[in-house]
Assembly symmetry: C2
DNA sequence: CCATGTCAATCAAACGTTTGCGTAAAAATA
DNA sequence: TATTTTTACGCAAACGTTTGATTGACATGG
């Protein structure tokens, strides 16, 4: 493989000159530039990024940390979408994307720190969702550039982009309450994840606004597995006063809910209304089409990556915490008309 | 940030000794090792991978090239799953994963070559699906280690892992033919992708076996967009002799097919049978549950990554071309009993 | 003619590792 | 004790770049 020295020799200049041609320095004459570039072209020279990184102390690479296990992470379209957004920006800036993957949360934190300590990346984007993410604290301690996708503790050097989970939870609850529902189940995810908290908080807000109490027998906390949604929905439907509506923390869970309801030969929305979250691609295609929340995942990725790039370029990043709005997509899983109470 | 020299100074040894401690060389006494390690621990030293790469000429990183545009790539669960498998192995080998992303195919090839020429990666895994992938030829020319996920041209230095698309296509067709269907539509993807070819080939094989001709009015080639599936299904159903069964090239397409059928107030499977491909998570949850093909995507990722690692380690890789078997998952979208002809 | 300035290119050090070779001291052997 | 072998470590070069300092050529102005 050719090095800068080979180019130099062939073009009859010094390596430094070649380097300056690459960086398009203006202290090189156009004539020389042309000659050097021609040589590079001819032999197919590409600068060795490793060597360059060593001296510039920049790897031109961003780390991407999925702080859920890879397994569950990728099963959700969320991650795909957000990666897509991030890729787009990263690519525009001629950066690369390094994935930190691991089996579990602890391991992932380690991988992330390793990437950083080993100087493989210039900054990291955290797809964080945990309540007490000690990774964030470590990064702060090291004064290392990072931005988190998801809700992060507010703080001076914390940059984050998130969707309005509280508002969204509120909107869902209000929608159902307006339709006359009072026995509304909330099929929550694990309380390890902030977004679950937030959606519940919004949910509760709406109840307060309506002057109503939440019946805790309808609030179920489980993990984000379809199977669990199925299982608990069946349980809910066995109650003496079964819920008339079920809010699932995400669309996958809603699928489980659908299955349980249909298995009981009940009708959606007539017997039970269902709302999901995420507007996954399949939601419009199941029957009945699912009422759900659409969040701008791709845009969140874009924003996160752009914040990161600005940070690295030393630009001022404003605002530090960005919240993108979601949208309630009303389909047929809740019925059209308000039911009477 | 600490360097090997700092450690050396603190441990009162030379940098070379520290380096040898890191690589656990046996020419260093246990006593010295202990002392040096203690120092590293204390100051939180991590070797700079960039510097190491420069001299060892190995970046301990694998490149991952999605040779579809990032956009469509990530919208399919296929990529998520295969990445999951790859990650798993890569992680076990203490390697990292670098993503090559781009807006389009051309750009992606460039990105890939760039990764390589710039020495960022030791090898690449190609999520290739194109018919004439010139990227493969370039890689061969450079004698660069790569393995492709998907069908690759057979060749001496070509390593690949794929699922048995031909067999799977055959199985689907046979299933439908056995059920008595004769007007079977094939909703194919773009002919740029090999897997589309292969599935069709298997499909055709079954027809030949049954001594039947394929009616080409039922064979439609489009791209892998749900919307197109919807559109063309509607067209198919308008025909004088509409198909009694539709084989969609993947599950997403099948969703579009479902929508079109339902919109026409036809029943699945009574009026039209449907088969998908991939066994996406939602297929068991739509109504009726979709008959589809399950492919071992995760395992394909595992295999691809393991082949790559073996290649890099100089191990013999056998077999060079691996084909993992798929499975026909029979649900309710084709009806139970053979229909009379 | 000398001093000064500009331009275009080179020199050489540096980045943080690894590793072949050299060498004292210790251990083994004669 | 003298010689050889082994052990444990250090020296210095190398990897392929970047970049501040330097140089030499040439032009400009006084």
């Amino acid at each position: 493989m050719y090095t800068i020295k080979d180019v130099a020799k062939l073009a009859q200049v010094s390596p430094s000159t070649v380097s300056r041609v690459i960086s398009d320095s203006k202290q090189i004459s156009d004539e020389t530039k042309k000659r050097v570039k021609k040589v590079m072209e001819e032999i197919g020279y590409h600068p060795n990024m490793i060597a360059r990184s060593l001296i510039t102390k920049s790897s031109q690479t961003l780390g991407l940390v999925l702080s859920r296990s890879t397994e569950t992470a990728f099963s959700s379209p969320f991650f795909s979408e957000v990666i897509r957004g991030i890729s787009k920006v990263v690519q525009n800036h001629q950066y690369s994307l390094l994935l930190a993957t691991a089996e579990n949360y602890k391991e992932e934190g380690k991988q992330c720190m390793k990437m950083i300590m080993e100087k493989r990346v210039d900054g990291v984007i955290l797809l964080a969702s945990r309540v007490n993410d000690d990774l964030i604290e470590k990064l702060l301690l090291d004064d290392y550039p990072f931005v988190v996708v998801g809700r992060a503790p507010a703080g001076a050097r914390i940059y984050s982009v998130n969707n309005d989970n509280i508002k969204a939870g509120y909107n869902v609850a209000r929608h159902l309450l307006n339709l006359g529902h009072r026995q509304i189940a909330f099929l929550n995810g694990s309380n390890e994840y902030i977004f679950c908290h937030d959606r519940y908080e919004g949910f509760a807000m709406a109840f307060r606004e309506f002057g109503l109490e939440i019946d805790q027998t309808y609030v179920i906390e489980t993990d984000l597995q379809q199977e669990n949604a199925y299982f608990y929905t069946k349980q809910l439907l066995e109650l003496d006063r079964p819920p008339t509506a079920i809010f699932a923390i995400d669309d996958m869970m809603a699928l489980g809910v659908y299955r349980a309801i249909k298995e009981k030969n009940l009708e959606i929305p007539d017997d039970v209304a269902v709302v999901g979250f995420n507007n996954d691609h399949f939601t419009s295609l199941i029957s009945p089409p699912l009422t759900t929340i659409q969040i701008p995942i791709y845009e969140m990725g874009i924003n996160a990556a752009e914040m990161m790039m600005d940070l690295l370029k030393g630009k001022e990043v404003i605002p530090q915490q960005r919240i993108l709005s979601s949208k309630l997509i009303i389909r047929n899983s809740c019925g059209g008309k308000p039911r009477k109470i």
